[in-house]
Amino acid sequence: MPEGNAVYYWRTDLRLDSTERAFLKQYYINKVYCRYFDVVMDTVESQGPKPNATITFSDTLPDGIEIIPTVYITEDCMHQPHQGLAEKLVKRIRQMNETNDIKAVREIQIDCDYTSKSLKTYYQFLKEVKEAWGQHLSTTIRLHQLSMPAPPVDDGVLMLYNTGDPRKWTERNPILDIRDVSPFLKRLDDYPLPLAAAYPVFSWLRIINGIHVEHTVEADEILKVKEAVEQKRKGLKRSIITYHLDKENIDRYKPETYEEIYHH
């Protein structure tokens, strides 16, 4: 796992404002995991998995920052194998790069909340993606997935967010709570895949029983989790990602917090 700082970019239009550009520079961000499109089941015409919410490239990333095309696949797409899906996905990423003059793409990432029900199909799919892509392939790993066999990819990103049950929001912060992370810490040390760590800096606005509930994670909680996971697995210090790049998220925390999150 190469050392470095990274961010996720999760909007539907690649367009950076001055704050976001300054952030990339200030925290030495060298990789942007950029969501290219989602893959969802076609419920209207029952045509199987199809691309959705494809990004528009209205802007380019600053020089020297590597873009990692990232594709989010809904779990139900993996309830059964879909012939040729991996090839179609890789071909589309390549074409998006070519049409939009995005060069030197080395790695792609697949994001899927796979479960024991979809694991077999998903892992076979990843093998096929790896074969079609021929270069570096990574995937996201959620905490509950640590107890399953590791996926057949080059490395993973440990998602340290959306750890709680949104229905029990009065008890635990659904975005991140150390008490939800801790049961999985014991699995970190010997998880057989190089891992980077991704921390949440986003907010989630919901209306529950007529009340505006904005979930955000306290800086201390993020840092507590960072300390706990890095204690169990030293390598997690080397490659750090925040989810996700957005002016509002940048303004949410003090620069010192970002410095500590990105502290190696």
Binding site: W204, L205, I207, N209, G210
Partner: protein
């Protein structure tokens, strides 16, 4: 036409998405004065009718636009112009589909260039046909091409100099919409907004005003034009956002999910708006005073004086405005009056009339259904809280979700009174209105009344209500699979009765030879009746057996279905029911100290069962060092003491212990800790 593809490029994708939008709520907006006719659907409908007429087809023969069908008919009519129009329209639609629909084939640079070329060729063609009899259609085609090519200035010029002079047709409406989009893209937001408001294009309006919604924006628009078409939209949005702010503190505003496009408002801004409404009315420049008076009344109700709000809305309903504004004022009047005026028979009669009116209106527009839900939830349910029969009738008749919850938790006597109300002839206008809308499912009330008596352990009365319910009723209940596969005569401390996936999801046809509830009720009634004639060991055994049944029927038992329709981890003992687990624990105490080894083992072990004790044998304490919960034994707890008693017994009979004891994880865990402490 299958869909009216891309009228303008102000697609909704530019609006933010909320992760949890949708979902259930009774917290509906009550201020609905802007009549949005859903521009896109309206256009679809008219163009569809136009094609149907051209093809000479009936409504059930025409499905959607198919170029080849129209060309065939055009050929038979020797209509060369129509043929070339449809061919070019199809070329344009193909390009539009490529822009709108996501496919696996992402376009190459060459394809993008080709698409541009195709659009330019259609554009040139359409421009050349502007003096033909199909000039409106071709003009629209021309503007659509300009739009996809990003040539917005050309569309502005074309509309202003040419198309705006055309006769009124659906094509002209669509051109006007594209023109409004071009104005917006060129920075002429006000003009664009006015046009979108006039056309009822809510989506485009929200797109352009999303970040500009405020009291200041409304005042500015009003000052430019006191009758601007965009004002009802902006005012509606403002008042609804104010309602969102009020709902935060409104204990009756329930909901889970979330609404789109929320903007947080401060109370100060709301009060500024309220005062501005009064200013608008005093200036007398508005043609729709009802709009401003209703807005004022609703803001006043939420953030100011409720009595003033009642006076305002009473005045508003007499003022001039559109029909929609008048309907909305009537809804607000219903809400505010229901919340404020004292209860009387006159009110009941008036309410019956208003609910009848809502019933008619809600067939056409879901707003009225939502309004009714909110009014019931927030004013009427409290108004009738002291009259359970009227309250239940109202909740049932208006389809409120509260009905099921109320009948489940209310006192059995009240439910019985409601049951008899459903059988009698109505005497008042209110009763007539309610009874005409009551929905009643066979045996549901009878079963629930019987079950409520079971919850109170009044077995005689339970039997009276349950004995005439057919077994087929229970076979169709959601809990039937549990009722068919679980036994209430097996102690939960001996074995938990988990269902396997075959039982849960298999094709097992569930048939009962007798009602499972009635069977349980009769059995417990008989066993309790026998207690007085039994003595000694037999009586102790009977107490134990009764404890088993009570423990199983408790919400913590496997046979929870005897007393409830469903189970949740959040369950507790509810109002108007006996704590059955506590009753089981008391029977276990009465089972005393039997001589029979096996019975004694069961009684002592059952007393140590977690749900037979108010406190567990350990506490869970969070450890900040290990980031895990630690188990901290609590020797003062009831369960700990019960385990100690059992452990003492077990030590004396180590070789004779039953399998259910030696296999119990909880007991083993306790013993490990206990051993450490010795």
């Amino acid at each position: 036409m299958k869909r009216f593809i891309i009228t303008n490029l102000l697609a909704v994708i530019t609006l933010p998405m909320l992760a949890c939008a949708g979902g259930w709520t009774t917290n509906h907006y009550l201020f609905s004065v802007y009549e949005s006719e859903d521009f896109s659907n309206r256009m679809d409908e008219i163009t569809r009718n136009n094609w149907k007429t051209y093809l000479g087809l009936a409504d059930d023969q025409y499905y959607w636009f198919r170029a080849e069908d129209i060309i065939k008919v055009a050929q038979s009519k020797n209509d060369a112009l129509m043929i070339s129009y449809v061919q070019n329209l199809e070329k344009y639609l193909d390009c539009a589909r490529q822009v709108s629909y996501e496919r696996w084939e992402y376009p190459t640079k060459e394809e993008l260039a080709k698409r541009k070329q195709a659009l330019q060729s259609v554009q040139t063609y359409a421009q050349s046909k502007l003096k033909t009899r199909l000039r409106s259609q071709h003009a629209l085609l021309y503007m659509r091409c300009n739009m996809l090519l990003g040539q917005h200035q050309q569309n502005i010029t074309f509309w202003e100099q040419t198309a705006s002079q055309y006769i009124e047709t659906v094509y002209k409406d669509m051109m006007k919409n594209i023109y409004a989009g071009a104005l917006y893209k060129s920075g002429q937001t006000d003009k664009a907004g006015e046009l979108f408001a006039e056309m009822g294009d809510y989506t485009s309006l929200m797109t352009i005003y999303y970040k500009k919604r405020s009291f200041a924006a409304i005042r500015q628009e009003y000052q430019k034009n006191p009758n601007a078409k965009v004002l009802p939209f902006l005012l509606q949005d403002f008042v609804n956002n104010a309602q969102e702010a009020d709902d935060v503190t409104n204990p009756n505003a329930e909901g889970f999910g979330g609404k789109l496009f929320i903007r947080d408002l401060s109370k100060a801004e709301v009060l500024q708006m309220r005062d501005f409404c009064e200013q608008v009315l005093s200036e007398g420049k508005t043609e729709t005073p009802i709009l401003w008076k209703s807005a004022k009344a609703w803001l006043e109700y939420m953030f100011g004086s409720k009595q003033q709000a009642y006076a305002d809305i009473s005045e508003a309903i007499t003022m001039a405005g559109t029909n929609r504004m008048k309907d909305d004022a009537r809804v607000l009047y219903l809400y505010i009056k229901s919340a404020l005026v004292p209860q009387s028979d006159d009110f009941d009669s008036w309410l019956a009339g208003e609910l009848d009116w809502l019933d008619q209106k809600k067939n056409d527009d879901y707003f009225f259904q939502n309004a009714q839900n909110r009014i019931v939830q927030q004013t009427l349910k409290d108004r009738y809280a002291n009259d359970p029969v009227k309250e239940l009738a109202l909740l049932n008749a208006t389809g409120s979700y509260l009905y099921r919850n109320y009948i489940d938790t209310m006192k059995v006597e009240n439910l019985e009174r409601f049951y008899f109300f459903t059988l009698k002839t109505p005497k008042t206008e209110f009763e007539r209105s309610m009874k005409s809308r009551l929905t009643k499912e066979d045996y549901v009330l009878e079963d629930l009344i019987g079950t409520k008596y079971m919850r109170l352990c009044q077995w005689d009365k339970a039997i009276q209500w349950l004995e005439n319910i057919p077994t087929s009723f229970y076979e169709s209940r959601g809990y039937a699979v549990y009722a068919a596969n679980r036994r209430y005569n097996l102690g939960p401390w001996i074995k938990r009765q988990w269902l396997n996936s075959n039982q849960m999801y298999g094709d097992q046809e569930i048939k009962f030879s007798q009602s499972p509830k009635l069977q349980f009720t009769r059995e417990v009634q008989k066993m309790e009746g026998e207690l007085s004639v039994l003595s000694g060991e037999e009586q102790k055994k009977q107490y134990y057996e009764l404890a088993v049944r009570y423990a199983q029927a408790s919400f913590t038992g496997d046979c929870w279905w005897l007393m409830r329709d469903g189970k949740s981890v959040m369950d507790t003992v509810r109002v108007n029911e006996v704590d059955l687990a506590a009753k089981a624990a008391s029977y276990l105490q009465k089972a005393g100290d039997p001589k029979d080894f096996l019975l004694k083992e069961k009684v002592l072990f059952a007393r140590a069962y977690v749900y037979m004790n108010p406190t567990p044998w350990y506490d869970q304490v969070w450890n900040n060092e290990t980031y895990e919960y630690d188990m901290k034994p609590n020797p003062e707890s009831a369960q700990y003491k019960a385990f100690i008693t059992f452990a003492t017994f077990a030590k004396q009979h180590a070789s004779e212990l039953s399998g259910y004891v030696t296999r119990c994880d909880e007991y083993s865990e306790f013993m490990k800790d206990f051993a450490k402490r010795q």
